[in-house]
C-alpha cells in the first residue's frame, strides 16, 4: 500500500524560518528593507567600495551557509542550503541519482544529500513541490566573486535570466 505523503511533516527549523523572513523583507519588492537596500546597492555598484561590500556579504554568508561567492545566489530556491558548497556535483536543479538512504553518493554516512535536506525544510511549509517547477539556468561565471546582492538589484544573475528560460 502506498505511504501517505501528508504524514511525517518535518518540524520547522528556527534558522530556516528566520532566513525566509529576512529574505522576504530584503529581496521582495514589498519588503520593508527592499527600497533602502536597492538604493544602497545601486550607489555602491561600480565604485571602489563595492569590493568591501562583496567581502562583507561573503563573510556573512560563509558563516551562515558555507557560501562560495558565486555572485548569483540561489539560496532562497533551495531552502537556504547552498548546492555550490553542499552538493558534490554543484547541481542546481535537483539531486543526482546516486544518493544512498538519503546520504550523498560521494560522502555516504558523512553528508546528507542537499536536496533531501531541502525537501524536508520545504515540506515543513508545504512548499516541497516548488522543486518541480523552477528551472535554474547555469551559473554565470562572469559573476564569480562579485556581490550577489548588488547583482540582484542591478538585474544580473539568474533572477534576470529566468525571464529568458
Amino acid at each position: 500500500m502506498a505511504v501517505n505523503r501528508n504524514k511525517n511533516v518535518p518540524r520547522k527549523s528556527g534558522f530556516y524560518c528566520f532566513n525566509r523572513w529576512l529574505h522576504k523583507n530584503a529581496f521582495d519588492k514589498k519588503g520593508c528593507l527592499y527600497p533602502p537596500l536597492k538604493t544602497l546597492c545601486r550607489i555602491i555598484s561600480g565604485r571602489s567600495i563595492e569590493k568591501l561590500f562583496a567581502e562583507t556579504e561573503y563573510f556573512i554568508k560563509f558563516s551562515c551557509f558555507d557560501c562560495r561567492m558565486c555572485g548569483d545566489c540561489i539560496l532562497s530556491e533551495t531552502a537556504f542550503l547552498c548546492p555550490q558548497s553542499q552538493c558534490a556535483k554543484y547541481l542546481l536543479n535537483g539531486p543526482c541519482g546516486g544518493s544512498i538512504d538519503g546520504w550523498c553518493e560521494v560522502y555516504p554516512g558523512v553528508k546528507r544529500c542537499v536536496y533531501v535536506r531541502a525537501y524536508e525544510r520545504l515540506k515543513s511549509f508545504n512548499e516541497e513541490e516548488s522543486l518541480k517547477y523552477n528551472i535554474i539556468p547555469p551559473r554565470d561565471w562572469y559573476l564569480n566573486r562579485k556581490s550577489s546582492w548588488i547583482n540582484y538589484f542591478m538585474g544580473k544573475g539568474h533572477e534576470a535570466l529566468k525571464k529568458y528560460l
Binding site: C96, Y119, E120
Partner: protein, 341 residues
C-alpha cells in the same frame, strides 16, 4: 546554410511508434584505445546489425567515473555497421563550451541519439582523483541540446554573435532513479524528472533496479502526471562480482538487497555459475516491463555476448503471456522503502 541530412533514425522511429517494443543494449568501452574488450563490442554490434533485433546500442561515457575510450569513437564505428548508437553525454568531465563542441561533433557525425546524464562522480585517473566539473547539470544540458534542435542562437554580445546555427535533429533522453528508499529521495527524483521533460527530454530510461513494484510506480506516476514521453525499463543482468559491488553500495544508485545477493551466491555454485538463471531472470523482467506498458527495454550486463541477448529476447517472448505471474518472483524491495502509488 549547410543543413543536416536527416537520415532514418531507427531508434527514434521505433520508440515513437506505440505499436513497437524497442530494445537497446548497453556497451561499456574500457580504458585504452585498442583493447580486446573493445573488439568484442564491435563484434557484438556486427551481429546486432545483421539480425536487426536491437534498435540502438548505447555507449557509456567513462562509466563509474573512471576514464575510458570516448563513446563517440565507438559510436562512429557502430553507425557505419548500420546500428543506431545511443551515445551517453555526461556533465561530469566537461564545461559547457566543451559540451557544446561535442554536440556539434555529434551533429557532424550524425549521431543524433543522446542519453544525457550528470554522470558518476569522477574518481581514479592519472596520478589521482580527477577534478569534478559539472559546469552544467542534466536539466541545463538537455535544454542546450533542445535549443540546438531549433537552431542555436549565438548571443549578440558574443564573438560572431547574433547568428542562428543550423539545426541539429537530436533525439535526447534522460534517466530516472525510482528505486529510492526515502520519500525525500524519491520525490526529488520525480520533481527533477518534471524539469528534465520540461527542458526537452524526448524519452526516459530507468536506473538499474530489481523491484517490479517500483517499475510499476514510475510508469503510473508518469501517466498520472502528464509526463507523456516514452519510457524504457532498465534490464540489468549482473555477474556475481558486479552484484556483490552493488550489494556493498559501490555502484551509485544501484541496490542489490540481501535476499537477491543470497540468490546470486547460491546460484554461483551451479555448473554454469548461475548464468542461465540470471539470463532467464532478465527475460522475465523484460516480459514484466512489456506487460506494465513500457515502450521498450534497455539491456545491460557484465560479460554478456550477443548470443546471450538473443537468448534473453527469445525467452522473454515466451514469458510475456504470463507476465503477471513473474512479478511475484521479481520482487527484491529495499526494507521500509517509501511507496508513492
Amino acid at each position: 546554410m549547410n543543413s543536416h541530412n536527416v537520415r532514418n533514425n531507427i531508434f527514434k522511429e521505433s520508440l515513437l511508434n506505440k505499436d513497437s517494443f524497442t530494445v537497446t543494449c548497453e556497451l561499456v568501452p574500457g580504458r585504452g584505445s585498442r583493447s580486446k574488450a573493445q573488439d568484442r563490442l564491435l563484434e557484438f554490434a556486427e551481429k546486432a546489425a545483421l539480425k536487426g533485433n536491437i534498435q540502438a546500442l548505447s555507449i557509456t561515457e567513462s562509466a563509474g567515473g573512471h576514464p575510458a575510450l570516448s563513446p563517440e569513437v565507438l559510436g562512429k564505428d557502430i553507425l557505419k555497421l548500420g546500428v543506431d548508437p545511443l551515445v551517453h553525454l555526461t556533465c561530469k568531465d566537461r564545461n559547457r563550451n566543451q559540451l557544446e563542441s561535442r554536440l556539434f561533433a555529434h551533429g557532424r557525425e550524425e549521431m543524433y541519439n543522446l542519453l544525457i546524464m550528470g554522470g558518476d562522480y569522477p574518481r581514479y585517473g592519472f596520478k589521482g582523483y580527477a577534478k569534478p566539473v559539472f559546469d552544467l547539470d542534466t536539466v541545463q544540458l538537455i535544454r542546450m541540446a533542445d535549443e540546438m534542435i531549433r537552431g542555436f542562437e549565438v548571443a549578440k554580445h558574443a564573438p560572431g554573435g547574433g547568428t542562428t546555427l543550423p539545426p541539429i535533429p537530436f533525439f535526447k533522453g534522460c534517466v530516472i532513479s525510482p528505486f529510492k528508499k526515502l520519500e525525500s529521495e524519491l520525490m526529488t527524483q520525480l520533481f527533477k524528472l518534471h524539469k528534465k521533460i520540461a527542458a526537452g527530454a524526448d524519452f526516459v530510461i530507468t536506473q538499474v533496479g530489481f523491484d517490479a513494484r517500483k517499475f510499476d510506480e514510475i510508469i503510473r506516476y508518469m501517466r498520472q502526471n502528464g509526463l507523456d514521453v516514452p519510457i524504457l525499463g532498465n534490464v540489468y543482468i549482473p555477474s556475481k562480482a558486479i552484484a556483490s559491488l552493488m550489494h556493498q553500495g559501490a555502484v551509485p544508485g544501484c541496490v542489490v538487497t540481501d535476499k537477491l545477493m543470497s540468490l546470486y551466491e547460491e546460484e554461483s555454485f551451479l555448473p554454469d555459475a548461475g548464468k542461465k538463471n540470471r539470463l532467464i531472470r532478465g527475460a522475465r523482467l523484460i516480459a514484466i516491463l512489456k506487460g506494465l506498458g513500457y515502450d521498450g527495454v534497455h539491456i545491460g550486463g557484465s560479460q554478456l555476448n550477443y548470443e546471450d541477448i538473443e537468448f534473453v529476447l527469445e525467452k522473454s517472448n515466451g514469458f510475456y503471456p504470463d507476465w503477471q505471474r513473474w512479478t511475484k518472483e521479481f520482487s527484491f524491495p529495499q526494507k521500509k522503502r517509501f511507496l508513492l502509488l
